[in-house]
């Protein structure tokens, strides 16, 4: 046990002691052991390494470290060997022997475990040469993947808690708030509200007790940047919160973690425990006369609990439902006291600002969006994973340089959806826009918490909008009318459009419903829910129109169980037969020739022209009165190689039996 740190110089002494104990000649194996890689067997890899190294007497020459996420989870389990910086992906527990034999003892990489460039097919040895990592700027994520998140010494060795010492002993609370304001840091959890301004309002609000809260409820489907941060570098969040609490004057803090994140809860709890035992949390921190404690709370499990007021209700032990924010939570939040709530990533930016200065921080980014942002890049791109990029990078750079473009298969890029379920879809021709809060907003999307879903031409945009609306509908808390009822109506309209039952007025109705929801919903869930609908109408109106007027899904995704499109026929003959009959007055009155035709079609019976040949599987031509079916059976079916054993006749049966309806569209069928 290390003794308590009472002054900043204690901290420096400890840091030097930890650093001097590190042996520069020792090889270090950094194995990612958080969620995705753990699921791939990372813990067994570590166990095997430890056992084999011990067996071979190498345990003093090689150190095995369980680290956090490197963002390339798709290729997990991943590991890095230092000092050579060899990057291995998709490592299996049984590869351990080979890695020791080849790389550790012989200095040769194991080719099979190296990353293969998708385009050049070349093997890449070094992490920094892999395009996925090349354009990233890792600051908030600088320590995850490097340190063991359950060891405070690792964090301290990397310069951790230096910012805290600086803030508590050399800065006045207001100076800290000024620095955060000057840094231009904005909220990473959704709204993008300037963090410094929030802190100042909270600091100025009257009242004695106040709170700081970290939002780790991450509920966006497909997003996991907050999880990786909490798992991989929990101390950066804790340090940010202590600095923030000191600035605002709070003595109590809460970290609200999504219930489905057990490793995050574990690592954060260990971090708080270790910081407390070192005296970095608790009473009289670093001799500055400032007391602060942190409690970790597990989320209530609903998406809406990530919303600030719902989260506070939940922390108070009430139903996790949003409440009115006309008096801001900075003045009246948790237990009606001034509260500063920030996303965990926002908190993790704070030590960087204090340590390196607001000016340094603000030198990265665009006019109104500073620093870096972590995105969760998923969907139809080559490389999926977590990326940290400077604000202002273009969408094209993210998707094509880092993401490596659309996955193999020759499909074209169509759109990228940013900002989580209530974000918007941005089309190809806007790909050169810089990624920052304001330009994403101007495109009808949002930064949100950093979700990014890439879609190719096989994605139907109406169906995409429907997917997000469906998610939000099932996550709406149901408190207020516009969101509860509006989302269900919206979902129904979209479903109808997708299934080919859309009506001409539907687009206008969706737009009006959207503006109603944005204008009157209680919280931002309902207020931003129309984004996916409005942005797809804005950029892909032609797709909506194709569904509504042509009963056609251009991407070929949507199907209506009750209709057959003209285009589904690869052969024209049965179609001409049906259309002819459809126009005939006899059609509705149960034409006997037509029912005879049906029995022929269903039983695949043959048409014959002689009395004698009548049998079970034939029908005599003289039973027909009308020439139309005869001409089909005689001229088309009898002369066709498939003799009725084709999909088209099945479609014809469905049409004639009234099970399905034929839908025409602008585009006529192609000849096969």
């Amino acid at each position: 046990m290390i003794s308590k740190i009472k002054t900043p110089s204690d901290l420096e002494v400890l840091r030097q002691a930890i650093l001097s104990r590190q042996d520069p000649n020792k090889q270090v194996l950094r194995v990612c052991c958080t969620t995705a890689c753990r699921a791939g067997g990372a813990l067994d890899i570590v166990k095997n390494f430890k056992e084999e190294l011990a067996e071979r007497g190498l345990q003093d020459k090689v150190e095995v470290k369980k680290t956090g996420c490197r963002g390339f989870c798709e290729k997990g389990p991943v590991m890095v060997i230092e000092p050579e910086e060899i990057f291995y992906s998709e490592v299996k527990p049984k590869d351990v022997t080979k890695i020791i034999d080849y790389t550790l003892l012989d200095g040769r990489p194991v080719k099979r475990l190296l990353y293969t460039d998708a385009e050049t097919r070349k093997k890449i040895t070094n992490e920094k040469d892999i395009p996925f990592f090349g354009k990233q700027v890792r600051r908030v994520f600088s320590k995850t993947g490097k340190i063991d998140p359950t060891q405070i010494q690792d964090y301290i060795a990397e310069g951790g808690y230096r910012a805290l010492a600086k803030a508590l002993t050399t800065m006045e609370p207001e100076e800290i708030i000024e620095a955060v304001e000057a840094s231009g840091l904005r909220g990473r959890g959704g709204g993008g509200f300037p963090t410094g301004r929030k802190w100042r309002a909270c600091w100025e609000a009257p009242g004695s007790a106040r709170y700081v809260i970290a939002n780790g409820d991450e509920g966006d489907p497909g997003a996991f940047m907050d999880r990786s941060l909490m798992e991989g570098d929990p101390h950066s969040i804790v340090e940010g919160m202590i600095i923030g609490a000191y600035a605002i004057g709070a003595n109590e803090g809460f970290i609200y973690v999504r219930d489905e994140y057990p490793i995050a809860v574990e690592h954060l709890s260990i971090a708080v425990e270790q910081a407390t035992s070192l005296g970095l949390l608790g009473k009289d921190i670093l001799g500055a006369g400032f007391d602060f404690t942190i409690e970790i709370e597990r989320g209530a499990g609903a998406f809406v609990c990530g919303e600030s007021t719902a989260l506070m209700n939940s922390l108070e032990g009430r139903v996790g439902e949003p409440r009115a924010k006309y008096v801001h939570t900075v003045a009246s939040g948790l237990w009606d006291r001034p509260s500063a709530l920030n996303n965990v990533e926002t908190w993790a930016n704070v030590p960087l600002i204090i340590d390196r200065g607001a000016e340094w921080y603000a030198s990265t980014g665009t006019a109104n969006s500073k620093g870096t942002k972590i995105f969760s890049l998923v969907g139809k791109v080559q490389n999926t994973g977590l990326i940290e990029v400077p604000m202002g990078i273009t969408l094209r750079e993210i998707i094509f340089d880092i993401g490596g473009g659309i996955r193999k298969g020759g499909k074209l890029f169509k759109a990228v959806q940013t900002g989580g379920p209530s974000g918007g879809c941005i089309p190809e021709h806007k790909m050169d826009m810089p990624v920052d809060y304001d330009s994403l907003k101007s495109l009808g999307a949002i930064m949100g918490s950093g979700g990014m879903i890439v879609m190719d031409e096989n994605t139907c945009m109406v169906d995409t909008a429907k997917y997000f609306v469906n998610f939000l509908m099932s996550e709406s808390c149901g408190k207020c009318v516009p969101c509860r009822e509006g989302l269900e109506q919206m979902h129904e309209i979209l479903t109808n459009i997708c299934e080919g039952n859309g009506e001409a007025e539907d687009i206008a109705l969706l737009e009006r419903l959207s503006s109603l929801m944005m204008d009157t919903s209680l919280c931002a869930l309902g207020g931003t829910a129309p984004n996916p609908v409005l942005s797809t109408i804005r950029y892909f109106r032609d797709e909506y129109e194709a569904h509504i007027f042509d009963k056609e899904c251009p991407a070929g995704v949507c199907r209506n169980p009750g209709i057959i499109r003209v285009t589904e026929f690869g052969c024209e003959s049965p179609l001409r037969f049906y259309e002819y009959c459809f126009a005939c007055p006899q059609f509705k009155d149960g034409c006997p020739d037509l029912s005879l035709s049906r029995t022929m079609l269903e039983g695949k019976r043959k048409l014959v022209f002689s009395d004698k040949l009548d049998s079970e599987d034939t029908v005599n031509a003289k039973e027909f009165h009308c020439l139309k079916p005869l001409s089909y059976f005689e001229k088309s079916r009898n002369t066709c190689g498939r003799q009725g054993k084709c999909r088209e006749e099945g479609l014809l049966v469905d049409l004639l039996s009234g099970k399905k309806e034929l839908v025409h569209s602008g585009t006529r069928l192609k000849k096969s």
Binding site: A302, V304, V319, E321, R323, A324, Y326, V327, M473, S474, E475, S476, C477, G478, K479, C480, V481, P482, R484, E485, G486, L487, E488, Q489, E492, L509, R512, L513, L516, D519, T520, S521, L522
Partner: protein
């Protein structure tokens, strides 16, 4: 502290943080509401009471039942934006609860005829939460609460089983604007009263108190009488 606010061009002085709705009442300006009751904490769920508030040169729609009066606030209660919003909300409610007389009457009063949205059944409960708040804030027993989310949301007892804490006071029945909480007479006095809320049965008083002697009753009886009077005066 008194503040000065302007509603539809008329000036009124009220205590700071008075809900705009109350201030409007003083001026006899009608604002439709479905989830507000003076004796209960504002809930802000029906969104029917929206008005347009101007502050620092910007306007936004806010719910008047919980929007706090601040000095210099300027409010309009019947702009086109307000009317469109209220109409939209009523249409959504009419689609969900077409058979509820209160909704029909209110819609008629607001001049709404056609509904652009598809009918969604004939629920009676409009989820205004008045019963829940009455039970929690006035009666103090919280025998009923919301369960589930979204359109599945319902009023229910904890775990959906007959409530042991309900005292059968009937506050929820009185306050419910749509009449979906009914009181059914019990057999003998010792059975207490019991309530029917849709298909939800609430037990009678667990202590089998005689109502006159009921201690729990007595504690809230003054509040309760006021609520009853208030609600009756409205209907």
């Amino acid at each position: 502290m008194m503040v000065r606010i302007t509603i539809d061009g008329q000036i009124v002085h009220v205590k700071r943080h008075t809900p705009v709705l109350e201030a409007a009442k003083q001026l006899e300006i009608f604002i439709p509401t479905l989830c507000y009751h003076k004796a209960l904490k504002a809930y802000g769920a029906c969104r029917l009471c929206v008005v347009e508030a101007f502050r620092n040169g910007r306007s936004k729609l806010v719910t008047s039942c919980n929007y706090p009066a601040e000095d210099g606030l300027v409010v309009f209660t019947a702009t086109d934006r307000v009317k469109t919003a209220r109409k939209g909300i009523m249409e959504l409610l009419l689609a969900r609860c077409p058979e509820v007389p209160q909704i029909q009457q209110l819609a008629e009063k607001m001049g709404i005829k056609a509904v652009r949205f598809k009918k969604k059944g004939d629920r009676r409960c409009i989820l205004c939460g008045l019963c829940v708040r009455a039970c929690e804030e006035l009666v103090g027993v919280s025998a009923i609460n919301f369960t589930s989310r979204g359109t599945e949301k319902k009023i229910n007892t904890p775990f959906g089983i007959e409530s042991k804490v309900c005292i059968g006071c009937g506050s929820c029945t009185y306050i419910c604007p749509t009449g979906c909480v009914e009181m059914v007479g019990g057999g003998s006095p010792s059975d207490g009263r019991s309530m029917n809320m849709g298909d939800l049965a609430l037990a009678g008083c667990p202590n089998n108190y005689e109502c006159e002697a009921c201690e729990i009753d007595r504690e809230f009886i003054e509040e309760f009488k006021r609520v009853v009077k208030d609600v009756r005066a409205k209907t």
